[in-house]
Symmetry: C2
């Protein structure tokens, strides 16, 4: 399925670069390679899964349009995938999502329906719209075609790591519901068995790490209060978790401050823009050296849609 998704994504998704810097290697005490999915269309890997899912629909189903729930990156991915297919997209977003993500989703042609996280039932709003208009729901992670699309990132990592002479490494992946992590893990299992995925989450929101440790799905106790909003989800997916359990090493977690520090270093050393949730894997690569094995670590930078004030915070605190 991942290879088939790669075929459908050819000429649509960007082959994002794998960057590095001797300055980052020095901090991490090993070679650091960064897979720049912040440079993907719409600024995150989410376009891959969205395109994969939308392009896999039967034409007559697809023509009626799609619907998605998202605080931002999945929203933009689905909006662009729908627009490029010439179909409508309705995106149900929390009213407190980063402004830039709401604006971008609208500008990409989607109809944005805002709801209040505290008082309204997202699923009820979405179900009503979907039924009324016969829209197909594109889930953000717990959906095979979405996982297959995200997995195309792993095919590229396998190829680019080989080009760099790297055959053994841990691959750190920013993890919310596990779509990207499980997709990459499946791709690497087939194409680069010496590369092993480890999930990275914000501290205090480590549902995946706790689930991997206990062997069953554990929930986050709260869902707000992290700068890494993009990757905070209630629990790992029903489809993604067994994959993570079979293929991924122990989960890592980093603080908001470490994510901001990684953003500042990505700014100065790689000249790229990351959002906090997209920087946690790089943060773990740089600031958790004792918890990582091997001479090389690959960190997936998963997104770069950051409100200016949050980016300023990273510069003010950590860029000198």
């Amino acid at each position: 399925m991942i290879e088939a998704a790669a075929g459908r994504l050819a000429g649509q998704a960007r082959r994002t670069p794998l960057l590095g810097s001797p300055f980052l290697d020095e901090i991490a005490r090993r070679r650091v390679l960064v897979k720049c999915e912040n440079l993907q269309h719409t600024g995150s890997f989410k376009f891959r899964g969205a395109w994969s899912a939308v392009s896999a629909l039967a034409p007559e189903v697809r023509a009626r349009g799609v619907i998605a729930f998202s605080s931002g990156n999945h929203a933009q991915g689905v909006a662009l995938a729908a627009r490029r297919h010439g179909i409508g997209a309705v995106i149900v977003m929390p009213a407190d999502a980063p402004r830039v993500k709401i604006e971008n989703t609208r500008a990409l042609g989607a109809e944005v329906v805002l709801y209040d996280r505290a008082s309204e039932d997202r699923d009820a709003i979405g179900a009503k719209l979907a039924t009324e208009r016969s829209l197909t729901l594109i889930k953000p992670f717990d959906e095979p075609q979405v996982i297959a699309g995200q997995g195309t990132t792993g095919l590229e990592i396998a190829q680019q790591a080989a080009e760099e002479g790297v055959t053994e490494a841990e691959v750190l992946v920013c993890c919310g519901g596990g779509g990207l992590s499980s997709g990459i893990a499946l791709a690497l299992e087939g194409h680069a068995p010496g590369l092993r995925v480890r999930t990275v989450e914000p501290e205090g929101f480590g549902d995946v790490a706790r689930s991997l440790a206990s062997g069953r799905i554990e929930r986050n106790l709260r869902l707000t209060g992290s700068l890494c909003d993009a990757i905070v989800t209630p629990e790992p997916g029903r489809i993604t978790f067994p994959i993570l359990q079979r293929l991924c090493g122990p989960g890592l977690a980093v603080s908001d401050d470490d994510a901001l520090r990684a953003m500042a270093l990505a700014f100065s050393r790689l000249r790229i823009v990351l959002e906090p949730g997209g920087a946690v894997a790089l943060a773990a690569a740089l600031f958790r050296p004792a918890e990582i094995a091997g001479e090389t670590v690959i960190a997936v930078a998963s997104g770069g849609n950051v409100d200016t004030d949050v980016f300023r915070l990273a510069l003010d605190r950590f860029a000198g």
Copy 2:
């Protein structure tokens, strides 16, 4: 020579991505493609020319080491090229160069000699050091092997534009002494004759545009006072100017504010970090639509080594 340089650069320079965004297309009123040389090793295209020149030296000459004058980007390019060849590099830099560039040049293993722009003679300092230690001078732009190295950017543009289906376009290039512009122009002449280079400079420092207009080398009246310090040079090169004259359209110029606005848009829409001098081509692509022809414009983003305060200025003024 450009193709030979590309052979020597294979596996050394990065093939940088060609990015775009529907949001930028809307501003520019045509398709905008951005060649991201800010993502090149050391954060600018200068590594290409430096590697090309250092790798072309006879081994016994190279072994004695190299010397360069630079306010920053050429310095880092030469420092890394020398380090990867296992030879010494002395870099003569103005004491008021951006701090990050001085620090990075030192961290890349070069010996940095600072001089005062107002009171000291850079050339005399360099000549003395070169003679004493038998170092080879690597000029920043007016040197055939350096131009050939920068020209490899043009080979990639020709290939990547073809992949995007673009065969006719103006290629806007941030221009100081003309090494990058003339190298790209030569590469495109051979490999993509429908792509034509136009130089872009900071307003008030348009020596190349004035020289192209008058048909003879014109000097800048002053050399300080631009945020785009990286691309302010006294005059076009003796080798580069005839190439520019033969192959490049009328020169463009943009204000510091336009460069900062382009930096803010590159931040939010492409998720990349540009320095002011590296953003003038994108600024012209976005804000000078009436002076550009064709349905597609390609802008070369030439560098991303920016002091944090200058980047903050771009965000504060233009990123909302």
